[in-house]
């Protein structure tokens, strides 16, 4: 069992958990992930590592409420326990001195691009971050990301804060500008990563994306997370999760992410029913 040391609601449906996991914290690096299980009947899901504290022996993860498991996870708080917490898994993001690195994040992925931006900065890069959110209410860690960036550009889809539009627009402007961009890291919803990769492709700037297909074990055992990169089948859990965004077969990824759509719906409906029953019981 793995103790939750801290829970923070970053925005209404995005939460942060700090977990007591000294063995994982000792080894964690930017870009790696953990696999968690909420309880004995729970599924195994991957969550990218947002931060670690080797001295305290803790790992921080940030997640958005989407289906049964993440909703169940959101109900837990400090002092509660997770059934499993396994990691650090996957290959770390390749950190090097490239020159100018643009870190693009969308939605809750701002949390996972944080350590990458920080390490890129520490490696001597000029770091320009682009942070996108649907609206102002879903925006978090702006200051935190600014603190590890030489420059920060914020966009909201609806214009409720900062610049109105998608992250790909300032990304394109940067690539067209006078400053040479040496590498782009784009992490967020798959559709956002696809369009970031499409934006950078004509400029020939290497673009690393962090893929999030469905995973079971996270150690190369099942092949459920297979993705096609440069025409070759790769396992995101052990070969990735970072891949060259220009080489990824995005349509295959989208399709494979949707394989259990119906089952996920059923499971979530059942969970909601159980929750409202429990509430009604408590009210009585």
């Amino acid at each position: 069992m793995y103790k939750i040391l801290l829970k923070e609601d970053l925005v209404p449906n995005i939460h942060l958990l700090k977990i007591d996991a000294p063995a994982v914290a000792r080894k964690a690096q930017a870009g790696q992930f953990v696999v968690i299980r909420v309880n004995e009947k729970g599924e195994r899901i991957p969550l990218t590592i947002a931060d670690w504290d080797r001295e305290e022996g803790s790992i921080t993860v940030v997640f958005m409420e989407v289906g049964t498991t993440t909703h169940r996870l959101a109900q837990l708080g400090a002092g509660d326990f997770l059934a499993s917490f396994i990691g650090p898994l996957g290959q770390p993001t390749h950190i090097d001195k490239y020159g100018t690195v643009v870190c693009v994040s969308g939605g809750f992925a701002t949390a996972v691009i944080m350590p990458i931006a920080r390490e890129m900065k520490a490696a001597g890069n000029r770091v320009i971050s682009i942070l996108g959110a649907r609206n102002k209410a879903l925006l978090f860690w702006e200051d935190k990301l600014r603190s590890v960036s030489d420059k920060l550009i914020v966009t909201t889809d609806d214009g409720s804060y900062a610049r109105k539009g998608l992250v790909t627009e300032p990304l394109k402007e940067l690539l067209e500008g006078s400053e040479k961009v040496d590498r782009v890291i784009a992490i967020g919803p798959s559709i956002m990563m696809k369009f970031c990769a499409r934006t950078t492709q004509p400029f020939g700037v290497k673009t690393i994306v962090s893929l999030n297909p469905i995973m079971d074990d996270g150690t190369g055992m099942c092949g459920g997370c297979r993705v096609s990169v440069g025409g070759q089948t790769r396992f995101a859990c052990v070969d990735g999760p970072d891949f060259d965004g220009h080489q990824v077969d995005w349509d295959l990824l989208f399709a494979r992410q949707r394989v259990y759509l119906n089952e996920e719906k059923d499971s979530f409906e059942k969970w909601k029913c159980a929750c409202s029953e429990a509430e009604a019981k408590a009210a009585r």
């Binding site: 063995a23 994982v24 000792r26 080894k27 299980r37 009947k41 729970g42 599924e43 195994r44 049964t68 498991t69 059934a83 499993s84 917490f85 396994i86 990691g87 650090p88 898994l89 079971d216 074990d217 150690t219 190369g220 055992m221 099942c222 092949g223 459920g224 297979r226 096609s228 089948t233 052990v238 349509d251 295959l252 399709a255 494979r256 949707r258 394989v259 259990y260 089952e263 996920e264 059923d266 499971s267 059942k270």
Partner: protein, 467 residues
């Protein structure tokens, strides 16, 4: 001399019609009367070939003798002296090619049903107060790290603990048992029985650390400098092989590892009570004809498939699965499409597999495996409608540990190079055994390797004591 009894006692099984729709155990085990009757057939021959036929050299004639003498408790003692996992072995060992194959009565076509008796004794112990803790050697003060918790590792750990060493098992998954938990289905090997035998290993003082991925969370070298004087690698062959043919990444196409893990380990057959789903096909094709293929096909049937095919490119004769499992599958209505090889898969607009194109094959000259090589019949393409495909072509060792352990040597098949007899690798203080060395094989051969490595580790630790 008494007349030989050649009537091998059948073991009761669930009716095929019924069992094809449930996950309960297929074979029901002997009653005491049946066990006694079967045991009485053993003639206690002086040559005792069965012991040599057993990869862990159980004293078979003596445990059978104890049954003959109405002493099941003593029979269990004799059995567990060599085998810490009898409930598992009694169910999944291929006795027909091992102890029973060399039984003196096998010459008359009716070997003693040693496996069924072994199973009976393990069940008897479990239902009669459970295992007693055997005597352990005095503590050596030495510690051994065992990586993985499948049959090779559990056996090595149990033996090392009995020899007085401190043993810690590191398991990557959230339960111990390895392939016994994620691979072999409930209806062939109930998970409760695996956990009973895992718990027995724990009572020997073995510490099992779950959720611990060696190679990621900690390395072999770190373990060796962190209080462990020796390491045993028993991480098995966990990496699935695919066909590498067009359409293989369509939705609904699983590796057998993924399909079985979802069903057995994550209990997808109880979805949505358990959170993990699995696609339930109407028409399911399983590619391959080993035990894992039979397990996959029979799981798919139990999940509710209307039709399940075993698609195999050779003929029945070359099928690597146990005879008994093939018979079970046939009885349950699994359809065998032999001399058939998949060529490509077709999907619908949602990228869901809907059909597979196959070739018919003929058999040519034997290849390096000694089996006749399948050859494509030109122009023989045909299409099979399928909505779930399970690829059961075999597995290779997971490179996670080897790739993070300098000094280990691997073959081009990804297996770890180790001494055939004692499992010593070329790296100092590191032994390996089971599928990680041999490639995918049987539970009992892995256990035999675990046993031999444990003896050699014990010898090594004893020598370091004296120096």
């Amino acid at each position: 001399m008494a007349k030989l009894n050649l009537n091998r006692m059948e073991m009761p099984r669930q009716d095929p019609e019924v069992r094809g729709r449930n996950f309960e155990e297929v074979a029901l085990g002997y009653s005491w009367e049946q066990a006694k009757e079967e045991a009485s057939r053993c003639i206690q021959c002086p040559k005792r070939p069965c012991i040599e036929g057993c990869p862990v050299q159980i004293d078979i004639p003596n445990f059978i003798k104890a049954i003959q003498q109405n002493d099941p408790a003593e029979a269990v003692n004799v059995l567990k002296n060599k085998n810490s996992l009898p409930g598992i072995c009694g169910r999944v060992c291929p006795q027909e090619t091992q102890c029973e194959a060399v039984c003196t009565l096998a010459k008359k076509g009716a070997p003693v049903a040693i496996g069924r008796l072994e199973r009976y004794l393990a069940d008897w112990e479990r239902l009669n107060g459970g295992a007693k803790k055997p005597e352990l050697a005095p503590s050596s003060g030495k510690n051994v790290a065992v990586i993985g918790s499948g049959p090779a590792s559990l056996t090595a750990a149990a033996d090392l603990a009995r020899m007085g060493h401190g043993v810690t098992i590191f398991e990557a998954l959230h339960v111990a048992g390895g392939v016994l938990m994620y691979g072999i289905p409930e209806f062939r090997l109930p998970k409760e029985i695996v956990q009973t035998e895992v718990n027995f290993v724990k009572t020997l003082g073995v510490d099992i650390r779950l959720d611990s991925v060696v190679g990621k969370m900690i390395t072999i070298d770190e373990l060796l400098s962190d209080g462990y004087q020796a390491v045993f690698l028993g991480t098995g062959a966990g990496l699935p092989m695919f066909l590498n043919c067009p359409g293989e990444n369509l939705n609904g196409i699983y590796s057998a590892n993924e399909f079985l893990t979802r069903v057995n380990l994550m209990k997808a057959y109880k979805f949505p009570e358990y959170d993990t789903p699995v696609k339930i096909g109407k028409h399911v094709a399983v590619i391959g004809a080993g035990n894992v293929a039979m397990d996959s096909a029979r799981c798919a049937l139990r999940l509710g498939a209307e039709k399940v095919y075993i698609v195999y490119r050779r003929s029945e004769e070359e099928m690597p699965a146990r005879r008994e499992e093939v018979e079970n599958a046939k009885e349950e209505g699994i359809e065998f499409r032999l001399l058939t090889s998949p060529k490509q898969f077709f999907g619908d607009e949602k990228n869901q597999v809907k059909a597979m194109e196959c070739n018919q094959m003929t058999l040519g000259e034997p290849d390096e495996s000694g089996r006749r090589r399948p050859i494509v019949k030109p122009g023989s393409e045909f299409t099979l409608d399928v909505d779930v495909v399970i690829v059961a072509l075999g597995t290779t060792p997971n490179p996670l540990v080897a790739s993070t352990t300098p000094g280990l040597q691997t073959t081009r098949h990804g297996t770890v190079v180790a001494d055939e007899m004692v499992g010593k690798t070329v790296k100092d203080k590191v032994w390996a055994g089971g599928d990680i060395v041999t490639g995918a094989a049987t539970v009992i051969s892995a256990m035999g390797a675990g046993k031999r490595a444990a003896a050699d580790i014990n010898r090594f630790l004893g020598e370091t004591n004296r120096s």
